[in-house]
């Protein structure tokens, strides 16, 4: 199950929903807003998401993870809107019979989500400048 939310993510509640008596291992990943990116001091971040396709593509990713690493339950939530340093941007949790599947499924899910979901991140720098992450790189590619 994958969700997009404009309000604070609550890991404790999400995690409680994954409880399963057959689960021996639980792995979670959290993406936190960092104060620096590629050498520039970051003041805050803004996330934009196109929800219908975040959900559709996210469910595909969860199904792919399940096919490879049989987990019992997995959930993912991604924030939108303005986030401050230390805020939780994305949460992925996986409960599985054993820790190996829990770690591998969790890693697969976050790795795929980052490159496949229509979510964009705008960094607001301490120096007052701002920029969409990776888009500069896209423009550079386009120019060559």
């Amino acid at each position: 199950m994958i969700e997009v939310t404009a309000t604070r993510i609550e890991p404790a509640e999400l995690q409680a929903s994954l409880q399963d008596p057959g689960a021996g291992g639980f792995c979670s990943f959290e993406g936190w807003v960092r104060n620096v990116n590629e050498g520039r001091a970051v003041e805050r971040l803004e996330y934009e998401a196109y929800e219908p396709l975040v959900i559709a593509e996210g469910e595909k990713v969860l199904a792919e993870a399940l096919a490879q690493f049989p987990y019992l339950e997995a959930r993912c939530v991604h924030r939108t809107g303005l986030l401050e340093i230390g805020d939780l941007a994305v949460w992925v949790g996986v409960a599985a019979p054993h820790r190996d599947e829990a770690f591998k499924a969790c890693r697969y899910i976050i790795d795929e989500l980052k490159v496949r979901l229509p979510i964009w991140k705008k960094e607001h720098y301490v120096d007052g400048d701002s920029g969409w992450v990776n888009c500069e790189r896209c423009a550079e590619h386009g120019a060559t």
């Binding site: 396709l53 229509p118 964009w120 969409w132 992450v133 888009c135 423009a139």
Partner: protein, 80 residues
Amino acid sequence: MKTITVRYFAMFREHAGLGEETLSLDVATAKDVFEQTRLRHGSREPNGHCKVAINDEMADWSSPVADGDTVLLFPPVAGG
């Protein structure tokens, strides 16, 4: 000519100054839509970093577009 609704996201939307517009375009594929709206979205060419969807389904740049389709132009994604 086909009537195509084009949606711009993130950097593309900011560059275009609008999120959506309906245009009359002489296009066969998603790539054609991308190219003919360059002045709007500001990206030089579709490459591996950009993505496209047609009518809310992820698509390829070579996917055909039909009269009445909505084409969503996605700049490089950066979730997490």
